[in-house]
Symmetry: C2
Subunit: 189 residues, 2 copies
Amino acid sequence: MNARNTDTKEEIVRIGKELIKLYGYNAFSYADISKQLNIKNAAVHYHFRGKEDLLAGILEDYMNDYISLGKQLQASGLPAIRKLEKFIEKYSCLVDNKSICIIGSVASDYNTLPESVKEKTTQLIELVLSMVEKTLQEGKKSGELIFPESPRTQALLIMTNLAAGVQLARISGKKDYDTIKRALIRQLK
Amino acid sequence: MNARNTDTKEEIVRIGKELIKLYGYNAFSYADISKQLNIKNAAVHYHFRGKEDLLAGILEDYMNDYISLGKQLQASGLPAIRKLEKFIEKYSCLVDNKSICIIGSVASDYNTLPESVKEKTTQLIELVLSMVEKTLQEGKKSGELIFPESPRTQALLIMTNLAAGVQLARISGKKDYDTIKRALIRQLK
DNA sequence: GTCTATATGTTGATAGAC
DNA sequence: GTCTATCAACATATAGAC
């Protein structure tokens, strides 16, 4: 049963991650998750005592994802612009799935999030921002990338373009997102 | 009673606008509104049959706000950069009130919004985007503003910087938002 | 015309069955 | 250890009182 437990718990997190990007923290319920797993909604409480514990689990899983992506890009030896393009590609996928990024999702719902997880959202954002910042720094140093702002500021600009870009795309369509994406990359060379 | 009716209805919209920027459409309830007005939650249903009707009212009110702002700026005769700064100032106020912009709010909740209002969100975004676009165009023509992209693309970049900027500010603080704001203005000259 | 008492459904969560 | 029957609280919404 231990194997199955682990499976169920992982499945809950996987579905939770999908739902929070599709609907936001407040707009999905344990029932939405349990239905997909053919169990009762209350069963989710066994794996995650309350919804805020699930949210903490979801955020931790995202942090692991980004740490993993960072290591992968680091090991790839790709030029900085390619690393950034790989990163941006993740956002393009979100658009195709009618989803927004986890950062925009928790930021939009921030005032309603349980206190216990607010610190984790800060950590997640810092993690992602510093990833982008480092890659920009690297590209600037090698002369591969040219941009007027500091790497930190440029990272903020890029991240906000992407985060709100995927949000906008839900309403005004993928065309606007693609416009933003292309302009973004163009401005780095 | 007619005067009082109008008052109550206007008050409901005013409070609704605050709440949707603070918590999002799904995270506020008729009870949150009725408490502030010292009436019962069900009384709100008299003025707005259902929550989606209230949302429609809120969005229409925002459209009037932006049309009004547009006319005001147009009549001001200010240089384009000043007009944009006035526009950006609205976003700085949002940060101080721990709020996000209506566009980011409805975009984040878009997948859960009633079908009847989705078209209105598109109209609202188009309205705001075209306002910014026109001002950019005007500044470019007069040589006052210098930017590499088309006015439409530049408007998309600015709007996404602002929309996600205020979201980010909730979590990582106003400092990051101010950094974005300054970079934004710097890049137009 | 304006608002309240009440209904109905859904939510997150507890206690306990297997 | 894993999940289900059940609950109390809150959501939106209707019927009807004043």
